[in-house]
């Protein structure tokens, strides 16, 4: 099953790149001209995200480098131990929505220290695999179309992250 999915991932993009131009030609689309016409907006879209990403990543960077992250971890740890989250993975849980790279660093550190097949190793692997860098995604996606007012999407993203966290703990505890 796993091999099948891995194979699908490998083939997905080449197959799309084959099918799309072929169908386009059959439907009478001028492929080269149309591609260029669409691609024109690429530069503007990417550059438009700069101010949003700068704002968000500067804040996250200050928050991490200053040691404020550790203070937050210490403050939240009694609360999160209520849902059965081991203290060792708490920094990962807090970092995951903010910074994908930093969270991955924490995860590999835990895996290295406790072993990949330990409870903590499996838990942090599941957490890394199932959560997303919510703040980064929101900033990037909204930034690309110039949206400044996020309404309830931050709250919604955090609720989803917390659910994943609780679910990961429960499932890893039950299965292993």
């Amino acid at each position: 099953m796993f091999e099948f999915i891995a194979e699908m991932s490998r083939w997905a993009i080449p197959v799309i790149l084959l099918i799309v131009p072929l169908v386009a030609v059959l439907r009478g689309v001028k492929v080269y001209e149309t591609f260029v016409e669409g691609a024109e907006a690429g530069f503007a879209t990417a550059v438009k995200t700069i101010p949003y990403l700068v704002a968000m990543l500067v804040a996250i960077s200050i928050f991490r480098a200053s040691g404020a992250m550790e203070v937050l971890v210490a403050a939240l740890s009694p609360l999160l131990s209520l849902i059965g989250l081991p203290a060792e993975v708490l920094p990962h849980a807090i970092m995951r929505p903010l910074s994908g790279g930093a969270a991955l660093g924490i995860a590999s550190d835990i895996i290295k220290t406790y072993g990949p097949d330990s409870f903590l190793g499996r838990l942090v692997s599941t957490m890394q695999g199932s959560c997303d860098t919510t703040f980064y995604v929101l900033t990037l996606y909204f930034g690309s179309v110039g949206i400044k007012k996020y309404r309830y999407s931050v709250l919604l993203g955090l609720v989803a992250d917390l659910t994943t966290l609780v679910a990961s703990v429960c499932i890893v505890r039950t299965l292993f």
């Binding site: 530069f43 500067v58 804040a59 895996i111 919604l156």
Partner: protein, 196 residues
């Protein structure tokens, strides 16, 4: 809420650095963060340009519409404010599929294309629409069938079965996806009064 979180991260960070006596890290961290952000955006130029070209072809050839038509029962339920067979539907499906297959390089451009399409339907251009909130909730809570990076790390540190976390990962994300859809509905109702 994003204003508040942003302010707290900056102010709290500076205060903690000051108390810890290493205020100089703040300046460096700020510039590092800014530098990193610009690098990410610049590195996106290439893949976004490429996928925008391919997506334009897919749109003109009717493939996006066909895809939107295929998934319309689910999508009509999730995105009632988006017209059936609108190109946004196709782009959303492409983005979610790329996410599920763990194709990061394709997922982000597809997502940005979906946002462009959703923005054409948005009434106030600086405010997130209902459909955008739903889309981002699905995007961030979405299943990844093969979390490649973490499997690699597990393998590196000598796991006897590096892929045994795939099952738990899928169950956990399925859970959060259901919760995200339900909470999205509730928040949409709650906020719909404020909007108009």
């Amino acid at each position: 809420m994003v204003n508040f979180i942003w302010l707290v991260m900056v102010v709290f960070g500076i205060v903690v650095a000051g108390i810890n006596g290493n205020i100089e890290v703040v300046t460096k961290a700020a510039f590092d963060g800014a530098n990193n952000a610009v690098k990410i955006s610049i590195s996106l130029i290439a893949i976004i340009t490429f996928w925008l070209g391919i997506m334009k072809l897919a749109e003109e050839s009717g493939l996006v519409r066909a895809l939107a038509w295929l998934v319309r029962p689910v999508m009509r339920f999730l995105f009632p404010s988006v017209p059936r067979e609108h190109p946004a539907m196709g782009a959303i499906v492409m983005n979610l599929s790329a996410n599920i297959l763990g194709l990061g390089n394709a997922a982000t451009p597809m997502g940005l294309i979906a946002m462009r399409e959703l923005q054409t339907l948005n009434h106030s251009k600086d405010t997130a629409s209902d459909a955008m909130c739903t889309f981002l909730a699905l995007n961030t809570s979405c299943v990844t069938l093969i979390p490649t990076t973490i499997i690699g790390i597990r393998l590196f540190y000598g796991s006897t079965d590096p892929t045994d976390i795939v099952g738990p990962t899928i169950i956990a994300t399925a859970f959060s996806m259901v919760v995200a859809i339900v909470v999205d509905r509730l928040l949409r109702l709650l906020y719909s009064g404020k909007r108009r």
